[in-house]
């Protein structure tokens, strides 16, 4: 039996006396696309940083692919919302992507080839020699995703990755990330405050309630893949999930 990609048991996190996350239980199966929604301040980002191993929980257990999470790992890549601060501005686009190969000691020619292959796949083949600051926001976010793919993760943790992008760019990146996740068979935990985005992308949506952050509801989505920006969003199942989650998060 394939172990769960992520297993979270009674996970609590407080900063000082402020309880941010309260006894979270969560299972993410291998290859699943899990969306997490919640109002701002309900601990979504904290949850993601915990899963990444960047911070240590106050209580509870986290297991990734059968092994307890004790710190950051290449297996779990994290895509941050603020792409401009998450790229190394002094490196060219392709060397940003090749960072993970460099750390593993891949020789120059090979890592250049592999970085460019990833960039091609993200539609960035033409800007490999640019610096991140020369690219638009959407392209910078693509570079960050490519950099994370280069570390060949089993789990991608995405923290409102498209929150700062315009609507059209956001939609095309949504489709791209859905396609990539399916192709790479990578597990995705996707945090967003955009309910429709969560439903559109997810196999399941976890709704967090604030103060302290708790799992309020988990909704499984029976929407066919590949999804389509128009027809999926008009699907009765989509609308049903939207109603339910909207009432839960915003109130009727």
């Amino acid at each position: 039996m394939i172990p769960n990609a992520l297993q979270v048991r009674q996970l609590s996190m407080s900063f000082g006396t402020h309880l941010v996350l309260d006894r979270i239980d969560l299972d993410v199966s291998d290859g699943e696309f899990l969306s997490v929604v919640g109002a701002s301040g309900c601990g979504k980002t904290t949850l993601l940083r915990l899963l990444a191993g960047l911070i240590v929980p106050t209580a509870g257990e986290m297991v990734a692919l059968g092994r307890p999470i004790s710190g950051p790992s290449r297996e779990r890549a994290i895509v941050f919302q603020d792409y401009s601060r998450s790229l190394l501005p002094w490196r060219r686009v392709w060397t940003n992507v090749a960072l993970a190969y460099e750390v593993r000691g891949v020789p120059y020619k090979e890592r250049r080839g592999r970085a460019y292959a990833l960039l091609e796949r993200m539609g960035l083949g033409a800007v490999g020699e640019y610096f991140p600051g020369q690219l638009s926001g959407g392209m910078q976010q693509r570079v960050q995703i490519a950099r994370c793919l280069a570390q060949e993760p089993r789990v991608m943790l995405m923290d409102e990755p498209f929150g700062a992008l315009d609507a059209l760019t956001r939609q095309s990146l949504q489709d791209e990330i859905a396609r990539l996740a399916a192709q790479q068979r990578v597990t995705v935990v996707f945090i967003t405050h955009d309910l429709e985005e969560a439903i559109y992308l997810g196999d399941r949506v976890v709704a967090l309630s604030p103060n302290p952050g708790r799992v309020a509801e988990i909704v499984r989505l029976e929407l066919p893949r590949p999804r389509h920006q128009l027809t999926t969003r008009e699907d009765p199942a989509f609308l049903g999930a939207r109603h339910r989650l909207f009432n839960l998060l915003v109130g009727p």
């Binding site: 960047l54 941050f80 190394l88 750390v103």
Partner: protein, 263 residues
């Protein structure tokens, strides 16, 4: 095209404008000396200064003195940069360390660099090493302060990335921390470069019998104001050229390490 040429013309006139005042002063100075208004025993006339400077350049004495001074200034600056960058990065990364060494550093820092000249003389005697020691002492501080604050001000996200990629400590320092702080440290190095020259010349004037500072003293004491003036102008010129060189290096090689790179 025409507009470009016109703009270039304006720029040429603009740069000429900056020369107008020195040229006028030199002319007045020369005329004053010729009329006997300006005392020539302290204020040699420009033509005499030019001749003395040309001679000193030609017989090699000025070149030798320049090499001696710059040798000490550059070695001192390089040593200071290495010490300050290494310890600055360390202190910046380990706040606990600052609590330990911070007070000591704060106590040593206000000591004027020239005040340790006697100590340097006791340790090394006359020569390059004592001068280098004083220059190093003076140059460490600006770089150290900038390095510490640059490391502190680093984007914390970069460390998250390093940790997620399971980078070794060496990789973190070399691939993340140093590139992130390089541009700001370069500013500290440029500040210290100016200080290095000042201190080197000071040590030579006060004590150390070599270099431009010593030549200046000798010229003045042997009543050769023309040579002294020539050397004075030369010191200014070389200092200016040195600063320009560092600025050019910064622009040509370090631009990508500035936060605004490519934007």
């Amino acid at each position: 095209m025409a507009r470009n040429r016109q703009a270039a013309g304006w720029r040429a006139i603009g740069s000429l404008r900056g020369v107008a005042i020195p040229a006028l002063l030199l002319a007045l100075w020369e005329a004053g000396a010729a009329l006997g208004v300006v005392p020539e025993d302290t204020m040699s006339r420009p033509s005499a200064i030019a001749v003395a400077g040309w001679r000193a350049l030609w017989d090699g004495s000025l070149v030798l003195a320049t090499i001696q001074t710059f040798q000490c200034a550059l070695i001192g600056l390089a040593l200071a940069a290495m010490i300050a960058i290494a310890s600055g990065v360390l202190i910046g990364l380990l706040p606990a360390l600052e609590a330990v060494v911070g007070p000591t550093l704060d106590a040593i820092r206000p000591v004027p660099a020239v005040a340790i000249i006697p100590l340097a003389l006791l340790i090394y005697g006359f020569g390059v090493r004592m001068e280098v020691l004083v220059v190093t002492f003076a140059c460490v501080w600006p770089i150290l302060i900038v390095a510490v604050s640059a490391v502190r001000g680093m984007e914390p996200r970069l460390m998250d990335i390093a940790r997620t990629l399971e980078m070794s400590l060496a990789a973190r320092l070399w691939r993340i921390v140093l590139p992130a702080v390089l541009a700001r440290i370069a500013v500290g190095v440029r500040v210290s470069a100016g200080i290095a020259l000042v201190v080197a010349v000071t040590v030579e004037i006060v004590l150390n019998p070599q270099g431009l500072g010593y030549s200046l003293t000798v010229a003045a004491q042997s009543l050769h104001p023309d040579l002294m003036w020539a050397e004075l102008l030369w010191v200014g010129l070389t200092g200016w050229a040195f600063n320009r060189l560092l600025t050019m290096i910064d622009r040509r090689w370090l631009w990508r390490f500035h936060a605004w790179a490519g934007a």
